[in-house]
Protein backbone atom coordinates (compact mmCIF):
# COMPACT_ATOMS: atom_id res chain seq x y z
CA UNK A 1 0.00 0.00 0.00
CA UNK A 2 2.71 2.37 1.07
CA UNK A 3 4.77 1.33 -1.90
CA UNK A 4 1.90 2.07 -4.28
CA UNK A 5 1.49 5.51 -2.82
CA UNK A 6 5.16 6.10 -3.21
CA UNK A 7 5.14 4.98 -6.81
CA UNK A 8 2.17 7.17 -7.52
CA UNK A 9 3.97 10.13 -6.03
CA UNK A 10 7.09 9.30 -8.00
CA UNK A 11 5.07 9.31 -11.20
CA UNK A 12 3.58 12.71 -10.51
CA UNK A 13 6.74 14.41 -9.31
CA UNK A 14 9.58 12.24 -10.51
CA UNK A 15 12.53 14.34 -9.40
CA UNK A 16 11.54 16.02 -6.21
CA UNK A 17 10.04 12.96 -4.61
CA UNK A 18 12.92 10.75 -5.65
CA UNK A 19 15.49 13.01 -4.11
CA UNK A 20 13.28 13.40 -1.06
CA UNK A 21 13.21 9.64 -0.79
CA UNK A 22 16.99 9.47 -0.98
CA UNK A 23 17.24 12.03 1.80
CA UNK A 24 14.94 9.91 3.92
CA UNK A 25 17.02 6.80 3.31
CA UNK A 26 20.19 8.62 4.18
CA UNK A 27 18.65 10.03 7.35
CA UNK A 28 17.62 6.53 8.41
CA UNK A 29 21.20 5.34 7.92
CA UNK A 30 22.48 8.35 9.86
CA UNK A 31 20.05 8.11 12.74
CA UNK A 32 19.97 4.40 13.43
CA UNK A 33 22.38 2.62 11.11
CA UNK A 34 19.42 1.26 9.15
CA UNK A 35 20.78 -1.58 7.02
CA UNK A 36 17.69 -1.89 4.82
CA UNK A 37 17.84 1.80 3.98
CA UNK A 38 21.52 1.42 3.20
CA UNK A 39 20.82 -1.51 0.89
CA UNK A 40 18.40 0.67 -1.06
CA UNK A 41 20.92 3.47 -1.31
CA UNK A 42 23.50 0.98 -2.48
CA UNK A 43 21.28 -0.40 -5.22
CA UNK A 44 20.35 3.09 -6.30
CA UNK A 45 23.76 4.68 -6.38
CA UNK A 46 26.50 2.06 -6.75
CA UNK A 47 25.82 1.29 -10.45
CA UNK A 48 25.88 4.98 -11.29
CA UNK A 49 29.03 5.59 -9.29
CA UNK A 50 30.65 2.70 -11.17
CA UNK A 51 29.65 4.28 -14.46
CA UNK A 52 30.94 7.66 -13.26
CA UNK A 53 34.33 6.16 -12.40
CA UNK A 54 34.58 4.40 -15.77
CA UNK A 55 34.04 7.68 -17.58
CA UNK A 56 37.24 9.02 -16.10
CA UNK A 57 39.11 6.01 -17.43
CA UNK A 58 38.89 3.48 -14.61
CA UNK A 59 38.71 -0.13 -15.81
CA UNK A 60 35.51 -1.97 -14.77
CA UNK A 61 37.17 -3.70 -11.79
CA UNK A 62 38.68 -0.53 -10.40
CA UNK A 63 35.42 1.31 -11.05
CA UNK A 64 33.52 -1.32 -9.12
CA UNK A 65 35.91 -1.12 -6.20
CA UNK A 66 35.58 2.65 -6.19
CA UNK A 67 31.78 2.37 -6.29
CA UNK A 68 31.87 0.11 -3.26
CA UNK A 69 34.30 2.39 -1.50
CA UNK A 70 32.06 5.37 -2.19
CA UNK A 71 29.09 3.61 -0.66
CA UNK A 72 31.20 2.51 2.27
CA UNK A 73 32.17 6.14 2.82
CA UNK A 74 28.49 7.09 2.70
CA UNK A 75 27.75 4.50 5.36
CA UNK A 76 30.56 5.76 7.57
CA UNK A 77 29.90 9.44 7.16
CA UNK A 78 26.12 9.30 7.11
CA UNK A 79 25.84 11.11 10.42
CA UNK A 80 27.54 14.14 8.91
CA UNK A 81 24.62 14.43 6.54
CA UNK A 82 21.48 15.99 7.84
CA UNK A 83 18.17 16.26 6.04
CA UNK A 84 17.94 19.99 6.59
CA UNK A 85 21.26 20.66 4.97
CA UNK A 86 20.19 20.00 1.43
CA UNK A 87 20.06 17.37 -1.20
CA UNK A 88 21.23 13.84 -0.41
CA UNK A 89 22.20 13.22 -4.01
CA UNK A 90 24.38 16.33 -3.99
CA UNK A 91 26.14 15.11 -0.89
CA UNK A 92 26.65 11.69 -2.45
CA UNK A 93 27.85 13.26 -5.69
CA UNK A 94 30.53 15.21 -3.82
CA UNK A 95 31.73 12.04 -2.08
CA UNK A 96 32.02 10.17 -5.37
CA UNK A 97 33.68 13.18 -6.98
CA UNK A 98 36.29 13.46 -4.25
CA UNK A 99 37.05 9.77 -4.34
CA UNK A 100 37.47 9.93 -8.09
CA UNK A 101 39.96 12.77 -7.74
CA UNK A 102 41.71 10.97 -4.95
CA UNK A 103 42.08 7.63 -6.70
CA UNK A 104 42.36 8.42 -10.37
CA UNK A 105 44.76 11.33 -10.19
CA UNK A 106 47.54 10.79 -7.78
CA UNK A 107 50.11 13.22 -9.07
CA UNK A 108 49.46 15.97 -6.58
CA UNK A 109 49.30 15.93 -2.82
CA UNK A 110 46.37 18.32 -2.61
CA UNK A 111 43.24 16.25 -2.64
CA UNK A 112 41.32 17.54 0.32
CA UNK A 113 38.20 18.98 -1.26
CA UNK A 114 35.47 19.61 1.27
CA UNK A 115 32.68 17.10 0.95
CA UNK A 116 29.72 19.13 -0.10
CA UNK A 117 29.66 22.45 1.66
CA UNK A 118 26.31 21.12 2.85
CA UNK A 119 27.80 19.36 5.81
CA UNK A 120 29.35 22.57 7.02
CA UNK A 121 26.11 24.48 6.86
CA UNK A 122 24.61 25.51 10.18
CA UNK A 123 22.37 23.06 11.98
CA UNK A 124 19.48 25.43 12.42
CA UNK A 125 18.31 25.68 8.82
CA UNK A 126 14.62 26.60 9.01
CA UNK A 127 12.12 24.22 7.36
CA UNK A 128 11.19 26.67 4.61
CA UNK A 129 14.77 26.47 3.38
CA UNK A 130 14.30 22.75 2.79
CA UNK A 131 11.48 23.63 0.47
CA UNK A 132 13.55 26.25 -1.26
CA UNK A 133 16.35 23.70 -1.66
CA UNK A 134 14.01 21.39 -3.57
CA UNK A 135 12.63 24.26 -5.59
CA UNK A 136 16.18 25.29 -6.31
CA UNK A 137 17.10 21.86 -7.60
CA UNK A 138 14.00 21.73 -9.77
CA UNK A 139 14.77 25.09 -11.34
CA UNK A 140 18.42 24.30 -11.91
CA UNK A 141 17.32 21.08 -13.55
CA UNK A 142 15.10 23.02 -15.94
CA UNK A 143 17.82 25.57 -16.69
CA UNK A 144 20.33 22.79 -17.30
CA UNK A 145 18.03 21.02 -19.77
CA UNK A 146 17.46 24.30 -21.61
CA UNK A 147 21.16 25.07 -22.14
CA UNK A 148 22.26 25.48 -25.74
CA UNK A 149 23.98 22.40 -27.05
CA UNK A 150 27.49 23.88 -27.09
CA UNK A 151 27.25 24.99 -23.44
CA UNK A 152 25.73 21.71 -22.33
CA UNK A 153 28.53 19.81 -24.03
CA UNK A 154 31.25 21.72 -22.19
CA UNK A 155 29.45 21.31 -18.85
CA UNK A 156 29.01 17.57 -19.38
CA UNK A 157 32.64 17.03 -20.36
CA UNK A 158 33.71 18.89 -17.26
CA UNK A 159 31.42 17.14 -14.77
CA UNK A 160 31.09 13.64 -16.12
CA UNK A 161 34.30 13.05 -18.06
CA UNK A 162 36.33 14.99 -15.50
CA UNK A 163 38.12 17.02 -18.18
CA UNK A 164 39.89 20.27 -17.33
CA UNK A 165 39.21 23.38 -19.42
CA UNK A 166 42.44 22.81 -21.36
CA UNK A 167 41.56 19.18 -22.04
CA UNK A 168 38.10 20.22 -23.26
CA UNK A 169 39.67 22.88 -25.50
CA UNK A 170 41.94 20.24 -26.98
CA UNK A 171 39.16 17.68 -27.42
CA UNK A 172 36.83 20.13 -29.16
CA UNK A 173 39.54 22.03 -31.03
CA UNK A 174 38.52 25.33 -29.44
CA UNK A 175 40.50 28.16 -27.88
CA UNK A 176 40.68 27.90 -24.07
CA UNK A 177 38.87 31.24 -23.78
CA UNK A 178 35.88 29.88 -25.70
CA UNK A 179 35.58 26.88 -23.40
CA UNK A 180 35.67 29.15 -20.36
CA UNK A 181 33.13 31.58 -21.72
CA UNK A 182 30.73 28.73 -22.52
CA UNK A 183 31.07 27.53 -18.93
CA UNK A 184 30.45 31.05 -17.65
CA UNK A 185 27.38 31.49 -19.84
CA UNK A 186 26.01 28.16 -18.68
CA UNK A 187 26.45 29.16 -15.06
CA UNK A 188 24.84 32.56 -15.69
CA UNK A 189 21.67 30.87 -16.92
CA UNK A 190 21.66 28.56 -13.92
CA UNK A 191 22.14 31.46 -11.52
CA UNK A 192 19.38 33.48 -13.17
CA UNK A 193 16.99 30.57 -12.70
CA UNK A 194 17.34 30.70 -8.91
CA UNK A 195 18.06 34.39 -8.44
CA UNK A 196 14.75 35.21 -6.74
CA UNK A 197 15.03 32.32 -4.26
CA UNK A 198 17.41 33.98 -1.85
Amino acid sequence: MQLMEREEKARLHPRSSKSKEMSELLSRVAERGDVVAFQELFENFAPRVKSYMMRKGADPNTAEELAQETLLTIWRKASLYSDEKGSATTWIFTIARNLRIDRLRREFPWQALPEGHNEEASDDTPPDEQVSERERKQRIHTALSALPRDQHEVVTLSYLEGMSHSEIAERLGLPLGTVKSRMRLAYQKIRESVEDLQ
Binding site: G33, V35, F42, A46, P47, R48, K50, S51, Y52, P60, A63, E64, E65, Q68, L72, W75, R76, K77, A78, S79, T90, I92, F93, T94, A96, R97, R105, E107, F108, P109, W110, A112, L113, P114, G116, H117, N118, R136, K137, I140, H141, V155, S158, Y159, L160, G162, M163, S164, H165, S166, E167, L176, G177, K180, S181, M183, R184, Y187, I190, R191
Partner: protein
Protein backbone atom coordinates in the same frame (compact mmCIF):
# COMPACT_ATOMS: atom_id res chain seq x y z
CA UNK B 1 36.00 42.98 2.31
CA UNK B 2 37.06 40.57 -0.43
CA UNK B 3 36.88 42.46 -3.71
CA UNK B 4 38.27 40.07 -6.27
CA UNK B 5 36.80 36.63 -6.75
CA UNK B 6 37.29 33.51 -8.77
CA UNK B 7 36.00 33.30 -12.31
CA UNK B 8 32.72 31.35 -12.58
CA UNK B 9 34.33 28.97 -15.06
CA UNK B 10 37.09 28.18 -12.54
CA UNK B 11 34.57 27.61 -9.75
CA UNK B 12 32.48 25.37 -11.95
CA UNK B 13 35.43 23.23 -12.96
CA UNK B 14 36.30 22.93 -9.27
CA UNK B 15 32.76 21.82 -8.36
CA UNK B 16 32.87 19.36 -11.24
CA UNK B 17 36.03 17.79 -9.84
CA UNK B 18 37.99 18.54 -13.01
CA UNK B 19 40.12 21.53 -12.02
CA UNK B 20 43.87 20.78 -11.96
CA UNK B 21 44.94 20.07 -8.38
CA UNK B 22 47.24 23.05 -7.93
CA UNK B 23 44.37 25.39 -8.83
CA UNK B 24 42.04 23.50 -6.49
CA UNK B 25 44.34 24.45 -3.63
CA UNK B 26 43.76 28.15 -4.24
CA UNK B 27 40.01 27.66 -4.75
CA UNK B 28 39.71 25.76 -1.46
CA UNK B 29 41.75 28.41 0.37
CA UNK B 30 39.71 31.30 -1.06
CA UNK B 31 36.25 29.78 -0.65
CA UNK B 32 36.99 28.86 2.96
CA UNK B 33 36.87 32.61 3.63
CA UNK B 34 34.49 33.76 0.89
CA UNK B 35 30.82 33.00 1.37
CA UNK B 36 29.86 34.39 -2.03
CA UNK B 37 32.09 31.97 -3.94
CA UNK B 38 31.16 29.13 -1.55
CA UNK B 39 27.49 29.73 -2.28
CA UNK B 40 28.10 29.54 -6.02
CA UNK B 41 29.94 26.27 -5.51
CA UNK B 42 26.88 24.83 -3.75
CA UNK B 43 24.70 25.49 -6.79
CA UNK B 44 27.40 24.13 -9.05
CA UNK B 45 27.55 20.93 -6.98
CA UNK B 46 23.80 20.70 -7.39
CA UNK B 47 24.40 20.79 -11.14
CA UNK B 48 26.81 17.91 -10.63
CA UNK B 49 24.25 15.82 -8.79
CA UNK B 50 21.66 16.43 -11.50
CA UNK B 51 24.05 15.29 -14.22
CA UNK B 52 25.14 12.38 -12.07
CA UNK B 53 21.48 11.37 -11.68
CA UNK B 54 21.23 10.87 -15.41
CA UNK B 55 24.33 8.73 -15.83
CA UNK B 56 23.69 5.41 -17.48
CA UNK B 57 24.21 2.88 -14.63
CA UNK B 58 26.68 0.02 -15.04
CA UNK B 59 25.59 -3.02 -13.11
CA UNK B 60 27.95 -4.27 -10.46
CA UNK B 61 29.61 -7.59 -11.03
CA UNK B 62 28.90 -9.16 -7.68
CA UNK B 63 30.76 -12.38 -8.40
CA UNK B 64 34.04 -11.23 -6.89
CA UNK B 65 33.35 -9.56 -3.57
CA UNK B 66 36.07 -7.05 -2.90
CA UNK B 67 37.53 -5.58 0.19
CA UNK B 68 35.14 -2.66 0.32
CA UNK B 69 32.04 -4.84 0.11
CA UNK B 70 33.37 -7.10 2.82
CA UNK B 71 34.03 -3.99 4.87
CA UNK B 72 30.41 -2.93 4.63
CA UNK B 73 29.25 -6.45 5.46
CA UNK B 74 31.54 -6.62 8.47
CA UNK B 75 30.38 -3.28 9.79
CA UNK B 76 26.75 -4.14 9.28
CA UNK B 77 27.24 -7.50 11.00
CA UNK B 78 28.86 -6.01 14.04
CA UNK B 79 26.18 -3.30 14.03
CA UNK B 80 28.65 -0.51 14.21
CA UNK B 81 26.64 2.65 14.20
CA UNK B 82 27.85 5.06 11.56
CA UNK B 83 28.30 7.64 14.31
CA UNK B 84 31.43 6.17 15.81
CA UNK B 85 33.78 7.00 12.97
CA UNK B 86 31.97 10.16 12.01
CA UNK B 87 32.45 11.61 15.46
CA UNK B 88 36.18 11.49 14.98
CA UNK B 89 35.83 13.32 11.70
CA UNK B 90 33.68 16.02 13.27
CA UNK B 91 36.06 16.52 16.15
CA UNK B 92 39.00 16.75 13.76
CA UNK B 93 37.04 19.31 11.81
CA UNK B 94 36.17 21.26 14.94
CA UNK B 95 39.81 21.24 15.90
CA UNK B 96 40.75 22.54 12.48
CA UNK B 97 38.21 25.33 12.89
CA UNK B 98 39.56 26.34 16.27
CA UNK B 99 43.00 26.23 14.76
CA UNK B 100 41.80 28.45 11.93
CA UNK B 101 40.44 30.93 14.46
CA UNK B 102 43.81 31.29 16.12
CA UNK B 103 45.63 31.78 12.88
CA UNK B 104 43.43 33.64 10.44
CA UNK B 105 46.33 34.67 8.22
CA UNK B 106 46.53 31.23 6.63
CA UNK B 107 43.21 29.72 5.48
CA UNK B 108 42.54 26.51 7.43
CA UNK B 109 42.77 24.09 4.47
CA UNK B 110 46.17 25.52 3.56
CA UNK B 111 47.40 25.49 7.16
CA UNK B 112 47.00 21.72 7.13
CA UNK B 113 49.78 21.61 4.54
CA UNK B 114 52.15 24.40 5.45
CA UNK B 115 51.55 24.92 9.17
CA UNK B 116 50.44 28.21 10.63
CA UNK B 117 53.38 30.51 10.43
CA UNK B 118 54.18 32.25 7.17
CA UNK B 119 57.47 33.50 8.54
CA UNK B 120 58.61 30.00 9.37
CA UNK B 121 58.50 28.54 5.89
CA UNK B 122 61.64 27.31 4.12
CA UNK B 123 61.81 30.36 1.87
CA UNK B 124 64.28 30.19 -0.97
CA UNK B 125 65.59 33.32 -2.61
CA UNK B 126 64.41 33.66 -6.18
CA UNK B 127 65.82 37.03 -7.11
CA UNK B 128 66.18 40.49 -5.63
CA UNK B 129 63.50 40.90 -2.95
CA UNK B 130 61.62 37.79 -4.05
CA UNK B 131 61.44 34.42 -2.27
CA UNK B 132 59.41 31.32 -2.91
CA UNK B 133 58.41 28.15 -1.10
CA UNK B 134 56.80 25.08 -2.59
CA UNK B 135 53.63 23.57 -1.18
CA UNK B 136 53.93 19.82 -1.26
CA UNK B 137 56.79 17.85 -2.80
CA UNK B 138 58.38 19.68 -5.70
CA UNK B 139 58.74 16.57 -7.76
CA UNK B 140 55.01 15.94 -7.76
CA UNK B 141 53.83 19.08 -9.48
CA UNK B 142 53.13 17.28 -12.73
CA UNK B 143 49.66 18.72 -13.01
CA UNK B 144 50.21 22.34 -12.24
CA UNK B 145 52.49 24.36 -10.06
CA UNK B 146 51.72 25.50 -6.53
CA UNK B 147 53.94 27.76 -4.49
CA UNK B 148 54.06 30.66 -2.11
CA UNK B 149 55.78 33.83 -3.19
CA UNK B 150 57.07 36.45 -0.79
CA UNK B 151 57.90 39.88 -2.15
CA UNK B 152 59.70 42.71 -0.33
CA UNK B 153 57.91 46.10 -0.10
CA UNK B 154 57.61 48.05 -3.35
CA UNK B 155 59.19 45.28 -5.32
CA UNK B 156 58.29 44.35 -8.86
CA UNK B 157 57.34 40.72 -9.11
CA UNK B 158 59.12 38.87 -11.88
CA UNK B 159 56.92 39.18 -14.94
CA UNK B 160 55.76 35.91 -16.33
CA UNK B 161 53.46 34.36 -18.83
CA UNK B 162 51.49 31.26 -18.18
CA UNK B 163 49.97 28.43 -20.07
CA UNK B 164 46.36 28.05 -19.04
CA UNK B 165 44.85 29.45 -15.89
CA UNK B 166 46.80 31.11 -13.10
CA UNK B 167 45.36 31.90 -9.69
CA UNK B 168 46.94 34.21 -7.13
CA UNK B 169 45.58 34.49 -3.59
CA UNK B 170 46.91 37.22 -1.29
CA UNK B 171 47.71 36.00 2.24
CA UNK B 172 49.52 39.05 3.58
CA UNK B 173 49.98 42.63 2.38
CA UNK B 174 48.84 43.54 -1.13
CA UNK B 175 50.00 44.04 -4.68
CA UNK B 176 48.94 46.08 -7.63
CA UNK B 177 49.05 45.32 -11.32
CA UNK B 178 47.59 46.72 -14.53
CA UNK B 179 44.17 45.37 -13.55
CA UNK B 180 43.64 46.38 -9.91
CA UNK B 181 44.92 46.29 -6.34
CA UNK B 182 44.69 42.92 -4.62
CA UNK B 183 44.52 42.70 -0.83
CA UNK B 184 44.28 39.88 1.70
CA UNK B 185 41.70 37.28 0.65
CA UNK B 186 41.46 38.61 -2.91
CA UNK B 187 42.17 36.23 -5.71
CA UNK B 188 43.29 37.10 -9.22
CA UNK B 189 42.11 34.67 -11.86
CA UNK B 190 43.81 35.17 -15.22
CA UNK B 191 44.34 33.00 -18.22
CA UNK B 192 45.99 32.43 -21.52
CA UNK B 193 48.45 34.99 -22.74
CA UNK B 194 47.83 37.65 -20.13
CA UNK B 195 51.10 39.20 -19.10
CA UNK B 196 51.10 41.25 -15.98
CA UNK B 197 53.63 43.03 -13.85
CA UNK B 198 52.50 43.09 -10.25
CA UNK B 199 54.14 45.49 -7.78
CA UNK B 200 53.96 44.72 -4.08
CA UNK B 201 52.68 47.21 -1.50
CA UNK B 202 55.23 49.90 -0.66
CA UNK B 203 54.97 49.31 3.10
CA UNK B 204 54.01 45.70 3.65
CA UNK B 205 55.14 43.87 0.56
CA UNK B 206 53.08 40.73 0.02
CA UNK B 207 52.87 36.99 0.42
CA UNK B 208 50.73 35.12 -2.08
CA UNK B 209 49.72 31.58 -2.89
CA UNK B 210 50.14 31.11 -6.63
CA UNK B 211 48.89 28.19 -8.66
CA UNK B 212 49.25 27.70 -12.36
CA UNK B 213 48.11 24.98 -14.66
CA UNK B 214 51.55 24.63 -16.16
CA UNK B 215 54.95 25.62 -14.75
CA UNK B 216 55.24 29.41 -14.59
CA UNK B 217 57.60 30.95 -17.15
CA UNK B 218 59.23 33.95 -15.60
CA UNK B 219 60.38 36.52 -18.09
CA UNK B 220 62.37 38.76 -15.84
CA UNK B 221 66.04 38.44 -16.72
CA UNK B 222 67.16 37.67 -13.18
CA UNK B 223 64.42 35.12 -12.84
CA UNK B 224 65.41 33.59 -16.14
CA UNK B 225 68.98 33.28 -14.97
CA UNK B 226 67.96 31.41 -11.85
CA UNK B 227 65.35 29.34 -13.62
CA UNK B 228 67.65 26.39 -14.40
CA UNK B 229 68.79 26.37 -10.78
CA UNK B 230 65.38 26.40 -9.17
CA UNK B 231 63.47 24.29 -11.65
CA UNK B 232 61.01 27.10 -12.34
Amino acid sequence: MIKHHLNDATLMSYAAGSLPEALCAVVVAHTSNCSSCAKKVRDMELVGSLLFDKIEPVELDGSAPTLALRGIAAEIDSVIKPHSSADNISSARAEAEIHAGICSEIPAPLAAFIGNNLDDLPWKRLGFGVWHAHVGPESECGRGDLRLIKVAPGQVLPEHTHGGTELTLVLRGSYKDEIATFGVGDVEDVDGDTEHQPVSDAKEGCICLIASESPAKYRNLVARLVQPLTGL
